[in-house]
Amino acid sequence: MARKLLLENINVPGIKSFDVYRANGGYRSVEKALKTMSPDDVMEEVKKSGLRGRGGAGFPTGMKWSFLDRKSDKPRYLVCNADESEPGTFKDRFLMEYIPHILIEGLIVSSYSLGSNSTYIYIRGEYRWIVDILENAIAEAKHNGFLGKNILGSGYDLEIYVQPGGGAYICGEETALIESLEGKRGNPRMKPPFPAISGLYNCPTVVNNVETLATVVPIINMGGDEYAKIGVGRSTGTKLISACGHMNKPGVYEIELGLPVDEFLNSDEYCGGIRAGHTLKAVVPGGSSVPILPAELFYKTKEGVARLMSYESLSEGGFASGSMLGSGGFIAMDETTCIVRNLWNFTRFYHHESCGQCSPCREGTGWMEKVLHRLEHGHGSMSDIDLLVDIAKKIEGNTICPLGDAAAWPVASHIRHFREEFEYHVKFPEKVAHSPFAHSADYKRELNTVLQ
């Protein structure tokens, strides 16, 4: 069995409650940090651990913390980004639902290091029941003296608040999240200034993913150096992967970074292979916004090196033949999957979730969806395929926030790797309509309009 750090005690009955969690070694890191370490020591440990943001971008957490403006006399805030909305990603939900105290513990230690006296958990509105779980956990922690005034006699005060969002993907972008948390429309802000200088209520703010903050707990418990020994290269530690799709055992798995992808997908310990009688067609390794990889490029890079589950290995080959680890939303598709339909589905999501602030994303995502809708329903033409590539190119990099990129990458990569399938849709609409995997509407019927 591989090493588990976050999900070590996940199967202990009653781990949701404070008492069981505490009896299994919970809140040790709070005692260690508040009693024996200074805030800067905690940050040093996180830096040494090489922990990288688990929300998708993979930015080193210690470095992010060190950017926080500690000199200003304004209050500092830590915000936990629990607005997990990427299609294919459900790891934070699992963590918060089944072992909420590890997040609270991580938040206390991180807030202590960053000097935040009020810390917010911004959780997506659809996770309504988890709000109750978290609030219950906060109340328990407070009752036991781990939150509130003068925690463990250290003179440090902390309150944690849970704020549900209204259900918008864009609020997972850190500046849109801050806007939403302030009670405004969730539009991403122009950067600079970065949140580390001027974030929530114009105060220095750090926004981190749930898993990132929970990982601070094992880092403090075992020491940053020890944590950095796990993993491979600059991808240190363990990562939660939410695996879904045509596999035998979908679910949330904690892996040591550097695990071979073949082992992850096909061993019984993890996903248990593709469902019987089928073969792997493509994999989206990090949530819907990362480029798709066909099976042969997923197992091995273009140079023939076996891929590992790590930030570097999955992005080997750049956008031409690689992908990204992203947020760990691992989607496997077998040969029955229609790539065009899959892409249409992804694009539909980004069209629906674009905030509408900047023009390339507002107009481009809708346009791409309409063209794909046409293609999937057998009304496309060959020029539509090049049109899609061109629209994606014109969105990418030209928007305020990364949502434009996230919408453009799947389109570019799906067409790059599966162009013949798009052409097949154009050439043989009647075959596509009757193929076993197409739920296509009758191609002869007039196309219904895509709703705004």
Partner: protein
């Protein structure tokens, strides 16, 4: 003062100046177009993405180029920054893309639009757009709404620059309109049919870069190139009273703020001046207002004798696309 080079032209600007304003200090063709930025409105800009430029060198200290194109209206210059605007094919390509995006859901109803002739989107499409559209789907459309007795909102033409929202926020004491919904369903609205009643509400017409907010006292009265803009003033206890009045013969057709060469008003004017004072006797006329060289208004006969630079590539779209 810090040094910045834009398209090979070096200039010195105050620290904190944005790239766009530095370019405007140089002037000429290298000024990026701006559809949403408005220098009089705090916080505006960054949304339309037409002013994207390439930063070839970040600063003298750190001469690395910036990885993406940046919005020049919201990026402050650094000492030693090297910016490429019209000299970068990448920028022109991206701008062409943005113009295409702005136009796919625009009705292109210029022949019946009151803004035609002074429309920023028209100018932008003329410079950077292509003659043909690749968009086959149905365009977004909305019903016209009257917001107050003097202003009409025609959302179909809106490009969501947010300028009118900033105007209402910053120069009136309460804002009753804003952006509803999201993505390409986003619209300017008052949520529940509401009337924008405020002494300065008429300024949303002046800041609107397209024909989405129009003056109902002027609608369908005349094309802008048939009326003659004159600087005029009157004593007004609410605003500065300095305006441009648009006349045909001795008749005042409409009143607007005084706009500079980037289409930005010098000073916001009140609704009294804008909507109520439509008699020549209300105004002291100062003389003809300057007209931008590219403006269709410059084609008008009355300008004979005044030197006007001829607009470039007259015709339908770019020559290369024909």
């Amino acid at each position: 003062m810090i040094k910045v080079t834009i398209d090979g032209v070096e200039t010195e600007v105050e620290p904190g100046t944005t790239i766009l304003n530095a370019a405007r200090q140089i002037g000429g063709d290298l000024v990026p177009p701006a559809m949403c930025y408005y220098s009089k409105l705090k916080g505006s800009g960054g949304k339309c993405r037409t002013c994207l430029v390439k930063v070839a060198a970040g600063s003298a200290k750190d001469p690395r180029p910036m990885p993406k194109l940046v919005a020049s209206c919201s990026t402050p210059v650094q000492d030693g920054m090297v910016v490429q605007n019209i000299t970068s094919p990448e920028v022109l390509e991206a701008r062409k893309g943005v113009v295409e995006f702005l136009l796919i859901n625009h009705p292109l109803d210029c022949p019946i639009c009151d803004q035609a002739g002074e429309c920023h989107l028209q100018d932008l499409a003329f410079e950077h757009g292509s003659a043909k559209t690749r968009y086959e789907e149905e365009r977004r459309s909305f019903d016209k709404i009257d917001i107050g007795s003097k202003i009409q909102l025609h959302m179909t033409r809106c490009i969501l620059c947010y300028r009118c929202v900033f105007t209402a926020n910053q120069i009136t004491n309460e804002r009753v309109h804003g952006v509803l919904n999201r993505g390409d369903a986003a619209e300017i609205g008052t949520y529940i049919e509401n009337v924008i009643e405020n002494d300065f509400s008429g300024n949303v017409i002046d800041v609107c870069p397209v024909g989405a907010l129009t003056d109902k006292t002027f609608r369908f009265k005349s094309r802008v190139w048939f009326v003659k803009p004159m600087y005029a003033h009157r004593n007004c206890d609410k605003c500065c009273g300095k305006t441009t009045i648009w006349m045909k013969g001795d008749e005042v057709f409409r009143v607007t703020g005084r706009k500079d060469q980037y289409g930005e008003v010098e000073d916001f004017i009140c609704n009294d001046c804008r909507f109520e004072k439509k008699l020549t006797s209300d105004w002291t006329v100062e003389g003809p207002a300057p007209i931008q060289k590219n403006s269709v208004q410059a084609q008008n006969k009355y300008l004979q004798g005044i030197k006007v630079d001829a607009p470039k590539n007259i015709g339908y779209g770019n020559i290369s696309d024909r």
